[in-house]
């Protein structure tokens, strides 16, 4: 049991078992204050279970950790108060007005008096929703405003840790960028941001990523460094027959992975030079002509798939 005032997130051998099933298997990592830290992994990898232990919603089976200076075994109630949480699907009450939502979250987090006035003014400035519009029903707000308001309510109590669950998938590209600019500003101010997402575009915004599979941490580094972990060369095939090409190449000798990527096909191979010659010939023999075969840098999605496959594939079911 250690109380560390500078600790943002620090877990050691974190483990959670449900009966004979080990959902989280001796996971250890440190998140620095002000870091934007992303959790990636296939469904069933143990991401959600890990996060629930970090936010005081679930007790570990073994291991320990501290979050925002609090012990995750002993201080779960206080921990819940010190964290901000924002989810794409569930954050605000649609049938309350803007002001009512702010008041609700203020009550929930115990933000009162002069502090509440200060924070209310901050939320108004950040969202652009002025005092006059405060009486609008939240469900009738444009999506971009709703997003910013949800974020404002999640940090009304100035938490040191903010947890975001898939915050911008489904959001238009411009609003997404503006939203992440807000997150960067919060992080610059010392808020530690934990993000859980399946959306690789979002993962690229994080300072570091933790990739989990089958309960274990299989990679932990910056997005750039994680991409360097994929050792197989990657070829991009431009063709008018994307789906057929991807199907035809799967399971072929020398091919570790073949999948559509936009309209092109990304093929992870054992030997780039050999494949650049062999694959077009193989495909031509099947009546599938290709326009170009070029080596490309792997995207985060390519690396995600490669690393999970290397670690035995995702947990089925």
């Amino acid at each position: 049991m250690f109380l560390n005032d500078t600790c943002a997130v620090e877990v050691t051998d974190l483990t959670k078992a449900f009966g004979s099933f080990t959902a989280v298997d001796h996971v250890s990592f440190v998140v620095e204050p002000g870091e934007i830290f992303g959790f990636l992994g296939p469904n069933g990898a143990g991401k959600t279970t890990t996060i629930r232990m970090l936010t005081g919603l679930l007790l570990p089976t073994s291991g320990d950790g501290c979050v925002a200076g609090l012990d995750i075994l002993e201080d779960t109630e206080e921990l819940k108060q010190r964290i901000g949480y924002m989810s794409q699907l569930f954050s605000l009450y649609g049938d309350l007005t803007v002001e009512e939502n702010i008041a609700f979250f203020a009550g929930l987090y115990g933000v009162t008096g002069e502090r509440l006035e200060r924070r209310r003014a901050w939320v108004r400035a950040m969202t652009g929703i002025d005092e006059k519009s405060g009486g609008q029903l939240t469900s009738e707000l444009p999506l971009g405003w709703k997003q910013r308001l949800a974020l404002g309510c999640a940090v009304l109590h100035e938490p040191r840790i903010l947890f975001l669950d898939e915050p911008t998938s489904g959001v238009d590209p411009v609003a997404r960028r503006n939203f992440w600019e807000l997150i960067y500003t919060l992080a610059d101010g010392g808020t530690t941001v934990l993000v859980s997402t399946h959306y690789m575009e979002e993962a690229e915004y994080c300072h570091r990523l933790a990739l989990m599979n089958r309960g274990k941490l299989i990679a932990l580094d910056t997005p750039k460094a994680i991409k360097a972990l994929m050792t197989e060369p990657l070829l991009e095939i431009r063709t008018a027959h994307g789906p057929a090409v991807a199907q035809a190449l799967q399971g072929q000798p020398g091919v570790t992975e073949a999948a559509m990527f936009g309209r092109a096909v990304h093929v992870a191979v054992e030997n780039a030079q050999a494949a650049a010659v062999a694959l077009p010939a193989f495909l031509a023999a099947r009546g599938l002509d290709v326009q170009a075969v070029t080596p490309v840098r792997p995207s985060l999605e390519d690396v995600f798939v490669a690393l999970v496959r290397r670690e035995g594939g995702a947990v089925a079911g």
């Binding site: 999506l143 489904g170 959001v171 238009d172 590209p173 399946h198 994307g242 936009g262 309209r263």
Partner: protein, 306 residues
């Protein structure tokens, strides 16, 4: 209009003062993979619900497999399968029981069921889990099961509402393989998505913004028609670079895209050196510059901006 799988004409839906879908007009050829693309709130789900015959239009109409959704919504249902975003599976029924339930619902002849089940299990990899409760499946598996339930009766037209929302990248690839197979077999697939990269693999896309179509064409055509040149620029500090480029001379737009910045210029040779100077003057290192195709995101932002 003849021969279209789906023919939408001035389809409109209002909710009190809000016009969720505004005079939508488009055609989907039989056997096409059509994407209705746009962010949350654009009107995708509302459009799909009208096409499925579960929500009446306020005005306008759509012919789905030749049947009018305004006049004969029940008649539409025989020709389609509809996979909605968050509702459709019975969590306390097993995988097999869910599929059997939908087979009953769509009146699939009993004699054909064993073969269809086999086929569905094969491409979804759900066979080993046929006796697992649907509520105990992971997100990606649930989506695959929803898709199986939708496909059990071999619909002519498949209507899918954001089938890969919240699904991990591996399951997402699996789901798209299934969709491509359906298209190869001649099913018309109409899918809504907010993921711009998925938009790219459709035969045709309609970009939707606030209930209106802002672009309608094949993705390649939209990318070719994008005004201006696009450079993919790798820098030492993306965030700072985006700020500098936002006001740099000759730069029409600069958007973070993956780990690069997509910079849209008027004419490359004229405009890039000046913008590059602005970056280096701000202390940002330019690591790599290459010509790039505009992404569907670039296309969308441009179409909305117009």
């Amino acid at each position: 209009m003849k021969g279209a799988a789906i023919s939408i004409r001035a389809l409109t839906r209002k909710f009190r003062e809000l016009t969720a879908v505004d005079a939508l007009t488009l055609e989907v050829k039989p056997g096409a993979l059509f994407g209705l693309v746009g962010p949350d709130g654009a009107g995708k789900t509302t459009t799909l619900r009208m096409l499925a015959g579960v929500l009446p239009p306020t005005s306008g109409d759509a012919l789905v497999a030749g049947v009018s959704v305004a006049e004969d919504p029940e008649g539409v249902k025989q020709h389609i399968a509809y996979m909605s975003q968050r509702f459709g599976l019975y969590h306390d029924l097993t995988v097999r029981e869910n599929i059997e339930f939908y087979a009953d619902l769509y009146a699939v002849p009993k004699a054909e069921r064993p073969a269809r089940l086999e086929r569905l299990y094969h491409f979804s990899s759900l066979g080993p889990f046929e006796h697992r409760l649907a509520g105990q499946l992971s997100g990606g598996m649930k989506q695959k099961l929803s898709l199986c339930c939708a496909l059990v009766h071999h619909p002519e037209i498949l209507l899918l509402d954001e089938p890969t929302f919240g699904v991990d990248p591996i399951s997402r690839r699996d789901l798209w393989l299934i969709l491509h197979e359906m298209v190869a077999e001649g099913t018309t697939v109409f899918v809504t998505t907010a993921y711009m990269d998925e938009a790219e693999r459709c035969d045709q896309v309609a970009l939707l913004h606030h209930g209106r179509i802002v672009a309608l064409d094949a993705p390649e055509a939209l990318q070719r028609g994008y005004p201006g040149e696009v450079l993919a620029v790798r820098v030492s500090d993306r965030r700072a670079a985006a700020k500098v480029l936002a006001t740099a001379p000759g730069v029409r737009r600069a958007a973070v895209f993956g780990d690069t910045i997509h910079v849209t210029l008027g004419a490359r040779s004229a405009d890039w050196p000046a913008a590059e100077r602005a970056l280096t003057q701000a202390g940002i290192e330019v690591l790599e510059t290459s010509e790039a195709q505009p992404s569907m995101e670039d296309v969308f932002i441009e179409a909305v901006g117009r």
